[in-house]
């Protein structure tokens, strides 16, 4: 429905505003910066595998800052031209089949996003991670043949998050994310994000594949694959206007 891929990737993790020690802050900022500039343009593939179906989509997306993003479906043909716009707290969907734009209500936030294992709410929420968690390094050293740093993110008392904690592993040297595990309040694993497919994107080596497995359905997954990524592209704010949605339709 709506896909602001860059925001998803970057803000899932961290931000520069962590009120923690300098080193933690620095590394998390680096991770955060991996996919995000002041603005971005990307083409990505989304693969969803469930018990009932598997599907592949190609998406094109633009973002500016944290609050604005626009995602358009390129493939398959059946959904081509579907556009999702996130502007601040508002989410709009343009449906080419009906030629109508719909604003999503709060009640829809918990719906599955694009048939994947993420909810609409996940995408909105993650942009607030930095305000919601305290981070600290809980492990440094070798694990699974790699030198890693493990961060544990604990939600702040007031934070509107459902997780008990988030554990993030990054490569010790390049500070590239390896794995991010979400725990529920009883500290049971709820879902796991794995980052692979290192390749050069926007002039730097970054993971290009994000693989999400829900703990309660281990046979299913959702996967994002970056095909291209350009950071800091010039985009007008008006690009993200609701009234501009129809214009994007080609």
């Amino acid at each position: 429905m709506y896909f602001y891929l860059s925001i998803l990737f970057s803000l899932m993790l961290a931000s520069s505003a962590w009120a923690v020690d300098a080193r933690t802050s620095t590394i998390l900022s680096e991770v955060d910066d991996l996919w995000r500039g002041s603005s971005s343009h990307a083409i990505a593939t989304l693969k969803v595998q469930t018990q009932h179906y598997s599907r592949t989509m190609t998406l094109e997306s633009w973002s500016k800052g944290k609050e604005k993003s626009l995602t358009k479906v390129l493939k398959p043909l059946r959904e081509k031209g579907t556009i999702t716009l996130k502007s601040g707290n508002h989410i709009y969907t343009y449906l080419p089949k009906t030629d109508r734009t719909i604003r999503l209500s709060s009640g829809m936030m918990m719906g599955a996003w694009m048939g994947s294992h993420l909810t609409n709410d996940d995408l909105v929420k993650e942009s607030r991670l930095e305000d919601d968690f305290d981070a600290k390094i809980t492990f440094e050293g070798r694990r699974n043949g790699q030198n890693i740093i493990e961060f544990t993110l604990l939600p702040k008392e007031d934070a509107a998050v459902v997780w008990g904690k988030i554990v993030l592993e990054v490569e010790a040297e390049r500070h590239l994310p390896i794995r991010e595990v979400f725990y529920d309040e009883d500290m049971q694993v709820s879902r796991t994000f794995t980052f692979t497919g290192l390749k050069e994107l926007a002039g730097k080596i970054r993971p290009s594949i994000m693989h999400i497995v829900p703990a309660y359905k281990p046979d299913e997954f959702t996967e994002f694959i970056f095909e291209t990524l350009t950071l800091n592209v010039p985009i007008q704010d008006s690009f993200f206007n609701k009234s501009a949605l129809k214009r994007h339709q080609r």
């Binding site: 508002h90 918990m110 709410d121 459902v162 997780w163």
Partner: protein
């Protein structure tokens, strides 16, 4: 010798007939008390319970809130309205509330539901059903930022326990989507799935803050009154207050049309039943009175022979009927009192023998067959049974006066 005295002696002489007639009347009292009493109890119980589930007997709310209860509609002079409302005699309590829809999420699941934001200082088990049915934990305090009391079914769905957190997502006053965290301080079990699986209570102050309301803004004011039957009166009274001008003031009939309809249906059933029972009682009294008159044909004939006029005879029988009815009422009170006492205090448990999974928990439908009478109802019952007895006695009395004396004398 006065008719009264004569009637009295007749009543005492024919003890069996007197007893049977009085018993018919007494039974009428008992039946009416049972029917009316259970009705009075059940309706009051349902109405009060309904009122305690959020809207009160009388609701002060923004115009159009009834049709489309969205969070952008709100009352703005809450304190002023509260002050003026509480000054009215009929009002038991008036409490500010915010009611809205929200999504509730835990790490496990998310579900849609509704919240009621309350000020726990103003609310208690007496005016809030949810507080009454709290089964675990306790109510949050009025200053609580994150306290939340959830329904048992909702807690189960989200796998929540006391102290666990819950994220609610809703739309604030500007139409923006907002999310906040809350921690479970208590769990209530009202016994109705639609409520236990949907409802949460939240602190008014923090909810106002979260939604962008000022401290003087709420969705509605729920007014509870001492006697639910005065709801429309109270509503009209409140409507005249200067502070509520521009707002809607509705009684429970309007805010809970389903309940009002159901009660109306049940009441109409009860009326019909009562009419039938009334007919039965009248038949019983008529029967005994008529038999009594037929039996005494000879006596009446002789009285008429010595000069008693038909109208005097009619009066005599009516006076007897009057005392019989009065006696019956007294007997009725005597036999009904323990029965009523039993129904009042214990009731008959209708849920017994109906399986263990049957938990009503006092909401909407009480599994107890209980009775409670309004003082007016008592007067009404005694009055109507008495009238019934007198009416049933009228024909036999008339008949007694009409029988030609010669006919009466022949029946020796």
């Amino acid at each position: 010798m006065k008719l009264n005295q004569l009637a009295f002696r007749n009543i005492f002489r024919r003890k069996r007939r007197t007893f049977i007639t009085a018993f018919s009347v007494a039974f009428g009292v008992m039946l009416s008390v049972t029917f009316t009493g259970t009705g009075d109890y059940t309706y009051t119980n349902m109405i009060d319970t309904g009122a305690k589930m959020g809207m009160g007997h009388v609701t002060i709310e923004p115009l159009e809130y009834q049709n489309k209860p969205t969070l952008d509609k709100r009352l703005q002079k809450t304190n002023e309205i509260l002050q003026q409302t509480r000054a009215l005699d009929a009002i038991a309590s008036a409490v500010p509330r915010i009611m809205g829809q929200a999504m509730f999420a835990s790490a496990n699941k998310n579900v849609g539901g509704a919240f009621i934001a309350i000020n726990p200082e103003l609310e208690s088990a007496n005016n809030n059903l949810f507080i009454k049915s709290l089964v675990e934990g306790k109510m949050f305090t009025s200053d609580s930022k994150r306290g939340i009391v959830v329904g048992s079914k909702l807690a189960k769905k989200l796998r929540l326990k006391l102290g666990k957190k819950l994220v609610y997502t809703t739309t604030d006053v500007h139409g923006e989507i907002i999310s906040h965290i809350a921690r479970v301080t208590g769990i209530f079990h009202a016994g109705v799935d639609a409520i236990d699986g949907n409802m949460v209570l939240m602190p008014l102050k923090s909810t106002q803050h979260a939604l962008g309301y000022t401290a003087d803004e709420v969705s509605l004011i729920a007014v509870l009154i001492h006697d639910q039957r005065q709801a429309n009166l109270a509503r009209d009274l409140i409507r005249t207050l200067p502070s509520v001008q521009g707002y809607a003031v509705l009684s429970w009939h309007e805010t809970q049309p389903d309940l009002a309809g159901m009660i109306a249906m049940d009441k109409s059933m009860n009326y019909i039943s009562q009419i039938l029972v009334g007919l039965l009682i009248a038949a019983g009294i008529f029967n005994t009175m008529l038999m009594g008159v037929l039996e005494r044909k000879h006596e009446f004939g002789m009285m008429m022979a010595v000069g008693l006029s038909p109208s005097t005879l009619f009066r005599l029988v009516m006076v007897e009927c009057f005392w019989l009815a009065l006696l019956g009422l007294m007997l009725g009170i005597i036999i009904t009192a323990p029965w009523y006492y039993f129904l009042y205090h214990y009731g008959i448990d209708l849920s017994a023998g109906m399986g263990n999974d049957f938990t009503y928990g006092g909401v909407l439908i009480d599994p107890l067959f209980k009775a409670r009478l309004f003082p007016e109802s008592i007067m009404f019952i005694l009055g109507s049974v008495f009238t019934l007895a007198m009416l049933a006695g009228a024909y036999p009395a008339w008949k007694a006066g009409r029988t030609p004396p010669i006919e009466s004398l022949k029946t020796i």
